[in-house]
């Protein structure tokens, strides 16, 4: 399906999904094959890096082949290869990175190393032209941060969690109330059934900066759950609803603060927790009521979790700017954007 647009193949392997996406131009996703290892890591109650990296080796060719088949392209149609080089689990990153560099070397086409978090933001660029300056709220398993995008290629952290990431808090709370890893979706569903009956803190909600904190909230849930279990009165759905409400109150308040402090044309929500129904709902309300001139973009559910499509999407931006990476690029498990606060 080759037209005159550049075609970029993107590879993602930073955690427990092996995934390959193919994008035409900067917006048209032709394929996005995602293999999930969740069932494997559920055996251990969380991702085991050595197990994860072995699965990546097993499935990398499958994902590449399936994606090309879905997109109806052959190797000779591909103009560039993008792969995540960080942040993430080093042993996992190496697999996708090596695959990407090898493809680029063999096909004699440019290689683009992609920051996984830039990928999460650019999931929003699928079928959509982002307006700049933009603000991104990244909410995922390992990150919770406000990122300012002056333009397509500049990322500046305005605020970040000082301890746990939101997704991490969901997973830890999930364990406390009896949900399998990863618990985000299950808590979200339970919260829709339950009511806010438990009192929980909203950490840092009144501070003027854009930093966040979730470990205190998790500890409060732990104590409350222990207490309720002792009395045999724990209502899981209500606990989920109370926890989710506390998290969302903080995220909404901080987002409101951010949008009041800086002028942006668009707000993007990215990362696995962007799949959260309450978050999607409440962000839509916030924008509608308080910032009607700001556009809200939250990627479709499938593009919120880790996927190669979002890596291809940012690879396409790098390609347009001719921002190629050398083939001696190594993975960087703690890769991060520049923090404006230093």
């Amino acid at each position: 399906m080759k037209n005159n647009q550049q075609i970029i193949l993107g590879i993602e392997s930073s955690c427990d999904e092996t995934s390959v996406g193919i994008i035409s131009g900067k917006h048209q996703l032709l394929a996005n094959v995602i293999t999930s290892q969740i069932k494997s890591h559920q055996r251990f109650g969380g991702v085991v890096p050595e197990v994860a990296s072995r699965h990546h080796v097993e499935y990398i060719n499958f994902c590449i082949e399936q994606a090309m088949q879905q997109a109806q392209v052959t190797y000779s149609d591909i103009d560039g290869i993008a792969a995540t080089y960080g942040p993430g689990l080093a042993g996992c990153l190496m697999v996708g990175l090596t695959a990407g560099k090898m493809l680029a070397a063999c096909l004699e086409i440019p290689f683009y190393g992609v920051n996984h978090m830039a990928g999460h933001i650019y999931a929003a660029a699928v079928d959509h032209q982002i307006q700049y300056p933009a603000l991104a709220l990244l909410v995922s398993g390992g990150h919770t941060e406000f990122v300012f995008l002056k333009d397509e290629t500049s990322f500046e952290i305005l605020g970040t969690t000082l301890d746990d990431a939101v997704g991490e808090a969901y997973d830890k709370v999930g364990r406390l109330i009896g949900f399998n890893y990863p618990a985000g979706k299950a808590i979200d569903e339970a919260a829709q059934r339950g009511r806010q009956t438990y009192t929980l803190p909203r950490p840092m909600i009144n501070r003027s900066d854009l930093n966040l904190s979730f470990s205190g909230l998790k500890t409060a849930v732990r104590d409350l759950v222990a207490h309720e279990k002792q009395k045999n009165t724990l209502n899981v759905d209500n606990m989920a609803a109370s926890f989710q409400n506390a998290v969302m109150d903080v995220l909404i308040a901080k987002t409101k603060k951010a949008l009041t402090q800086i002028n942006v044309k668009e707000l993007i929500i990215g990362g696995g927790v962007a799949a959260n129904l309450s978050l999607r709902d409440r962000m839509a309300n916030l924008i509608h009521n308080d910032f009607p001139q700001c556009k809200l973009t939250i990627p479709p559910l499938r593009l919120c979790g880790d996927n190669g499509g979002m890596i291809a999407a940012y690879g396409a931006v790098l390609a347009q700017h001719k921002n190629t990476s050398q083939l001696d690029l190594d993975c960087n498990s703690s890769l991060s954007f520049i923090n404006a606060a230093g």
Binding site: T18, V33, I34, T35, S36, Q37, K39, S40, R43, F44, V48, E50, V51, S53, R54, H55, H56, V57, E58, Y59, I60, N61, F62, I64, E65, Q66, Y75, G91, L93, M94, V95, L97, T98, A99, K101, M102, L103, A105, C106, L107, E108, Q326, L327, D328, L329, D330, C331
Partner: protein, 237 residues
């Protein structure tokens, strides 16, 4: 037949390009830590100043294990991706045989060892007999106490490996110890190519490292779940 050989299993990164059995170019470093960084550029560099291109490689031999889990994954991933693009034949070579290769011409039995800490070793014994390599101890993961029982019957044993400091004094009783990287004794990409001749090729999709050892978490889980049924742990979503 243009062949590429890769060994980054433990002792460095060695890659070679050969036409049939004729070596064209080989490059080896003893820096194994950075295989994720340098393997691909090192492969690419083989083609500089040659009339060949990477896309012309028809056969790929990769040291498949045992060895460093990380090194194995990088070598295997590079091999299986390239084999898929080129429709090349893909061969997995024992990294212990590849390590033994330069000593096999002596005709002596050769024990190769890769240390896996706490006196545990990946070990294999091979000997060349009338032009054929025979396996006397198949690639295994053994504690030294078990290993020493298995090797005591051999005469004229040549022992090559690294990380042997703890057991050196005892090990000396059983043969001559030759450290890896002394002279030209190290596992080479070129010998991986030679060892692949006449072997059975494997489908790139199925190609995974021969780790020999399961991750600790899996061993523990299997111990606690002896009756688990085998399911597909990875699925397309």
């Amino acid at each position: 037949m243009l062949s590429l050989g890769i060994d980054c299993s433990e002792f460095g990164v060695s890659v070679a390009l050969a036409n049939d059995k004729q070596l064209i170019m080989e490059q080896s470093t003893t820096e194994n830590k950075r295989a994720s960084q340098f393997l691909v550029p090192q492969i690419k560099a083989l083609f500089k100043n040659t009339p060949y291109k990477l896309a012309q490689v028809e056969s790929i031999a990769v040291a498949q294990g045992p060895g460093s889990f990380t090194g194995l994954k990088i070598g295997v991933t590079a091999g299986k991706v390239l084999a898929n693009v080129n429709h090349a034949k893909l061969f997995g070579i024992s990294s212990l045989v590849n390590l033994a290769f330069p000593l096999l011409t002596t005709g002596n039995p050769v024990l190769t060892l890769i240390s896996a800490r706490h006196q545990n070793f990946y070990a294999g014994i091979y000997q060349k007999k009338s032009g054929k390599i025979v396996t006397l101890l198949p690639d295994s993961y053994l504690n030294y106490s078990v290993l020493r029982e298995k090797i005591k019957h051999f005469n004229g044993l040549l022992i090559m490996g690294a990380g042997l400091e703890d057991v050196k004094t005892d090990l000396k009783e059983f043969g001559i110890i030759i450290p890896v990287s002394s002279g030209n004794l190290f596992p080479r990409g070129y010998s991986a190519i030679l060892l692949s001749k006449g072997e059975k090729s494997i489908s790139p999709d199925q190609f995974v490292p021969n780790y020999i050892r399961d991750p600790q978490a899996v061993l523990a889980w299997e111990k606690n779940n002896p009756e688990h049924s085998v399911i597909n742990y990875v699925e397309e979503i």
